[in-house]
Symmetry: T
Subunit: 156 residues, 12 copies
């Protein structure tokens, strides 16, 4: 693990549209705003973040494989791949990194098909429905866990 | 809404045992520790918290009915009533308050029967698996939402 | 069976909030109004009613056990315990009394989880969606059944 | 809405056999008895009823289409079409009239296939298991609703 | 029960097409051929048969209601109403007559939706896949049962 | 096959109300308007159409049996019989004609029970949600198929 | 196929107890009575029957393998192996013989687990609920089929 | 573990009615009789028992939390909370004590909803259908296990 | 019933391996040890036991048929036939004897497929998870029931 | 909305093989043929079409995001992504454009897994089984809708 | 483990018919051919094989119990017992030997009921659809595993 | 078919990590090792192999489309796309090539979601749990099938 912990922040399909996408559901904050806020907070916490967004599942798998070695944790909002992204799940499991899943809207209050995540059972936890602050809380959590005990083992 | 926002923090059955209950799963932080941390942070945010724990579902319903009028939001960890606490759900719906559900352990990674919450579809969101910090993040969220836009309407 | 038939009218969790609870769904009639109307009509029918409301399942079981001996029938709106109140069901079965289940709103037109009653299969019948008048109709039914044939045996 | 409110009372397949059909389950009251009782009570309430029974689903649909315009509400016991009568449901929805579903026996206590009604989710409510009085209670309900607020909008 | 036992032989929708309908599945025997064969065999057995075919479920219900009083048993092939003919089922139950269900083709070897009969659980038995002879076997069965024990009670 | 191809256009229960029925869902075009438009377009295509609407399933089965011999294809909107019209399905299968199923509204976007068609798996195809034009497209399709290859065999 | 057609009549576990086993459900006819009646009728039809009963699934498989070569058809009542006798099914399929499944009681009216047969989908047909005469009807069917068309191919 | 092993004997809702409750199902032995018999046998075994009955789930959770520290095992008949008592389950798991579940009647032979226990998968075992002796056998088991190996670890 | 009551103790497939089979799950007691303990206790109770173990379902059916006449009850651990032993179930039902089902390990805490017993709904009761003592408790129960009331009728 | 309406025509995985892919199921028309036919018809209607095919889900999401701003509607055949393409669905929803789903073969008549579309519930409608003409009908529909009412709002 | 590793090759019901059984599905190779090929290859690998086939589940359990002690692994094609052979599964688990499951035909492409194996989750692996060579591949695998690492522990 | 048969060996997401990925589950052999072993064995068999690995589903579809024409068969380990790779399935079906599915670990012994393959029902067969040798066995199978009968038709 590096001296300065680095957290991968991964956003899946259509999250590049954040802020322009149904504001009632997702708010008006853009992904650039989220990135800026996270970088600021990471700096205060003595950590770094590596941002990545893609509409391609394969590209997300590539990214995880290439960046996991130098990372201390993963914050992921897989978008609509949350339901079917088994390949992303395998890449995350393979990385051995602690993962926190974030959803901007409350997936438990939306269409039935959005409620089931293939990633959550293998993550440290899930934050859903708290808007863009969900990413911030995930960062706080990972930073404090990393600070306390180094690179933590997976919950199960 | 009161001048100083007050948030109800409700814990259900067996959470009075926190800290002494299976530490691998729930950590060693006690409920008193959580209360202290939340009171401290609430003070910094210009807010107050009202704590309540009970092993009795009826007592939790009573508490919500009696305290909802003077409250700005609810943080609830219903424990094992998460799966069957329809009466608590009705009391929360009746209160019209924004609700954030918190689980210390990652319920999505435990026994199948723990994954389904009857409350989550009607809450603002859910935080699961991030330990005692989940309560803190819920407080941060409700405080910022209340500060920005007064008593917010439910997401759906 | 007593000379003057007495009917137990039991209301479960959150029904003490009737009249102040989502008026679009439940109307503006309070539980006190319902009690008054039922007492009036019972008097005309030469019968009596014993009212009880509690947010505690155990208290409802206690009430049934203590009052069944001197009662001729039960009108019950178990609120959200309708779905999970197996203990109430057992107390009702144990009492041997004819039971009519009442719901103010049309549970068949609401969330899926509200449609299934654990009590209805063992009751004389169910009235749903006819507002506070449902209690009145249940009283009329039980009074006429009791007047005609004494303490009737359960339908099945 | 007409000056004198008129309620359609519709009975589906096999209900013409009422009184001669399994008396333990359905009682000895005939459909003519029910009609007479309802006409008497309707007169007292300043209302009228139009009776109809058929073993043919198509004929029931025809009847609703032809009589809905001059009616204020519908009382329907669709018999065994309760489970599969989607065409009747569409005719009722198309009419825009408030509907109360009646069942003489407690369908919740009989064979599993009888418990699910395709009509109930779109009706004002359902009365089951209270014998022929169920029709009377439905009439009382519709009359009082019509008297209070004119032709009421559907619950959902 | 009449001196000469009379059996109702009821055929549902599309069975008037027998012999012209997919011969590989249903054979080339027409319904008239079946009727002739049954009448011949009934004569030898000292019994009579009343034939009826309709594409209208309501008409079959009417027929059962009108003819059950003078009948000793029912042989029924409800065609595609086998799956949804709850109204026919109710009419058969109401008649109190012993019923044998016949299917020309082996419904257990066809599309899944054809395998479930709503009538069979309440019939004496079911014959499927033995072609037009299935009617003959049903007649033999009912005649022998009637001869032995008069109008037999239903199996369950 | 006749010289001038003739297509049966069958509408099931409640479609006689088209234009007066929930306009937001079904539009303001009446069934007479649809018939006129189809007759006009059929004339241009050198074809004829035979219209039929009934609220009675048995009558639709009768119609198919009586008209299939002189027809080249079927356009059917079975209304609410789409879900349970096994008898209509059998009549269509028996006719051996190519069938196109039409729905004015998008049944895939409505209540769950409307999504499953018992006819579609045995039809050439299904058009749903394109309003009254769906009938027109079905006619275009059948006319071009008939013109190309005579009376086409069923897809499966 | 042999000159004199021979039919295997196979009875599974506990059918050796026929006549002494729950007479209300199975009657008082013994398996020896059934055998005698079938031998008599087979003689009249110019056919022979080979009887076999075993409580051992493997023994029934052995019997089918050893006797199929000289047989023209199979009548089987597999008893409680009807639900799980996949090995018997495979042996029957392997034999290529036409099979008729017989059940003395109406399996469609008994416990749910008895309704599903693994054999029926691959048999010519099934007779259930007609008592010991079911075997006789199966014999009549197979004899007539064999007389007409030699060793018939399976229905599907 | 104390010198004299002490076993908690917990009875849930409606079991205070034992002896007066449907004697065909539950027998005429009262809970006081059971307590007396267990105390007698415990004395012979050099052990003690602490009895508790409540109709309130919360009270049972309180009792377990307060008494687990000085106990060597739990015998529990949760009554109708067997199906939904997740809070009791959590209290039992938290206690770390060996648990034996007892049911007086054979829950596997009653209504479907009574067959599933949320406690049994986490207990040492379950005794059902052996009447009041089930408690006695549970005591014998726990006493012998405790005597042999001290406070035994849970089976899984 | 014989003067000295005799109980059949039946063990199914692989239980002859008891003691050598996964000791963590099944303990180190052998089937011979169990037999010896039961014989000893039976002698004290004035009863006898007939032991039988087989890996062949058919052999168990044979054993029940041959020994039921002189027996007063059955203790059975059907091993892996618990899930599919319908033939054993039929033989047990046919015997009319009271049955107690025993499982050494807690089947409710093992793989899902082991939890469902086809025998339990028709037995007096089930003991699971209490090790070899389960057999002993079953013997105590049957002996006391037989001593009290002779050959008891089945619970349902 | 642009002066000349432009429609996106999107084809998913393997549709580049159209014409060479199983001709019995998909016909011999190539995707280039479809494009040519659509361009021709669009010209006549005063509209334009933008064609796109990809085997990559991510590329389809990119295309929708980049082209939705200048488009009036979408015609999509997502191929095998119809069942799992939640990311495409989100991109379509985000675009706010009216969507018509097209399938060349009748997906309702093929393997079960092909029948469920994740897109259809959110589209204007679906055309299935009408071959390449399905695209043409979709274009006709969108052109007429756009011409009548500008950029139409989604049906639900 | 013996010096020369010995592998049990077990074939279940109807596999003695291999070669004469539906050749399109199973090929024309007989079980004797398979045995010969395996013996030859085993010799080359310095191993031995013990062949066994039976139509009796109990006989297979006996065989495993008697031969497991001197064996290094098991190759099993349980035929139709694959779906219900829990007793065989228990015997295999009890043996502690590595197991490879073989199916001649591709069970994943046949009837639904053949796809689920009760053995596979507890085996090293499964080979299906590769004809008689599947046995050969299983032998190669077990021989190489045994040669490398002695008697390997089970995968899970 | 080419003179020298060429087999496509396709590996899906995360299989490029083979050897470095959870060695307990997948072993320490790398994908390059597998390629080398397969090339060596293919040379001995007079065949060639074309290797391909990608984390992108679309890229795998592209590869199959571009290489199928000159190939004789496909060996595929689709990784986590096994569960959702309908697009890959369609490309394989379109190719008409014989396919063998390989999984290194025993998917039948892992998480439930890994057991179902969308490809297997349409493949020649599946090898699971035999480690990297699974690829070798698949190659042996395809080579021998190709050598015997040229380019074989699909099994179903």
């Amino acid at each position: 693990m590096p001296q300065t912990p680095n957290f991968l922040v991964i956003n899946g399909p259509n999250l590049n549209r954040l802020g322009r996408r149904d504001p009632k559901l997702y708010g008006s904050t853009t992904l650039a705003d989220v990135e800026k806020a996270l970088r600021g907070r990471a700096g205060e916490l003595g950590a770094a973040v590596t941002f990545f967004q893609s509409n391609h599942e394969g590209a997300i798998v590539d990214f995880i494989q290439e960046n996991a070695g130098a990372a201390s944790g993963v914050i992921i909002n897989a978008g609509a791949l949350t339901q079917v992204g088994y390949s992303i799940l395998d890449a995350l499991l393979d990385s051995g990194l602690p993962v926190v899943e974030v959803h901007i809207s409350n997936i438990h209050a939306r269409e039935e098909f959005r409620r089931h995540s293939v990633i959550a059972p293998f993550a440290r936890g899930q934050i859903a429905g708290l808007g863009w602050r969900g990413y911030l809380f995930a960062l706080e959590y990972l930073a404090s866990e990393t600070g306390q005990a180094g690179k933590a083992s997976r919950t199960r």
